[in-house]
Amino acid sequence: MPTLALFAVVGAAALAFYAVNQRRHRARVARATALAAEHGFELDVGPKQPPPQKFDLFDLGRGKQVSFQLWRRGEQDSVFDYEFTTGSGKNSTVHRRTCALISLPFTAAHTKIGPEGFWSGVGRALGLRDIEVESDMFNSRYRVTSDDERFAVTLLDQPMIAWLLSAASGAGEIKFELLGPWLLCVADRMVIDRQFGYLDWAQAIRGHMPAVLTSLYPVR
């Protein structure tokens, strides 16, 4: 009898948890739908598979799914929530991100730009070098890897470096991944209200990139 009661309690708790989650999800969908309509965006609540671009982020972990994808009618650029799971059992972690996927007017070599982490900083101090540019401050704050160093150096010209370093850019905690005619900006999960501004911000990055890239690395 006590076992039955225990099962009943656990079952009820699970049902309550499910109901609360469903309610929260419905509220989020309603909020996203209203905001999308207000800003003139299209919305695909999902969940669905990640985009077909071969970004490293989409290779990590399992249980990958895209949800709440927002885009302007007639445009390829979009912003979406992305989550995936790494580890297993008690050590499994669900990673939640908000990504902006932006089209580029050139063909980028696979390049990643992100904040310098603890271990990459240690490696740098020991003389293990990734791609470095003309700015020491940039080199100490960002880690750059690329299949084509020449492309990375061309991308990171003085104005682009200055923009990335400026507090006003808001780029400090964002990770960038470029591949072909696409740029993926990866941030920690953000509330739906902020995602519209995030997409605008990410689209504006194109204006900070050197125009010469379109002539040196034309879209194929």
Binding site: E132, V133, E134, D136, E149, R150, V153, T154, D157, P210, A211, V212, S215, L216
Partner: protein, 183 residues
């Protein structure tokens, strides 16, 4: 483990490190050479455009003979200057300045703005300058890497033995300043 075995391991490790250091120096020197070839091609492109620019401007701003003569003179001087990046930096910089001065004539001679070949040349020169600038940044970073290896211990021992020398920077002195400051 015998002393002999330890000596063999140490000598092998040193030999491997030596070969690795040598190969890195070779790679760095090759990168410098390749990246210089890119700059060279872009500079040649600029030299090709200058006579066309002079011709286009002469049609609408013939009174600016002094500026045009200066452009032709710096172009010829830069084209004749051979040798290292350091030797070419000055003349090519002078040519860039002279070109800008001639392009700026469009502010005083509005007729230039309606001249299609001038506008096309202006666009091509701007693009070429951007490409030179991008190639220069990459080249200077390669030079910085090579020079660091030529100077730093223990790769400097390998460099000295095999005749690897420091390369010259091209253009601005920013990289030189970085290197002097020890970064």
């Amino acid at each position: 483990m015998t002393v002999g075995a330890v000596i063999v391991i140490v000598v092998t490790a040193l030999a491997l490190a030596y070969v690795k250091s040598f190969n890195r120096l070779v790679n760095d020197r090759q990168s410098v050479s390749d990246s210089w070839a890119t700059i060279d091609a872009e500079l040649a492109r600029r030299h090709e455009l200058i006579p066309e620019l002079v011709e286009a401007v002469t049609a609408s701003a013939a009174h600016e003979r002094r500026l045009l003569d200066e452009l032709v003179r710096t172009d010829q001087l830069a084209a004749l200057t051979a040798g290292t990046a350091a030797a070419r930096s000055g003349p090519e910089h002078d040519l860039e300045m002279a070109t800008r001065a001639v392009i700026a004539l469009r502010e005083r001679y509005p007729a230039l703005n309606s001249q299609q070949n001038f506008l096309t040349l202006q666009g091509e020169l701007a693009l070429t300058e951007d490409r030179i600038s991008a190639a220069r940044r990459y080249y200077n970073i390669q030079v910085s890497d090579l020079n660091r290896r030529v100077q730093a211990f223990p790769s400097n021992l390998v460099a000295r033995r095999h005749g690897f020398t420091e390369a010259s920077y091209f253009g601005d002195g920013e990289c030189r300043d970085r290197e002097r400051s020890g970064h």
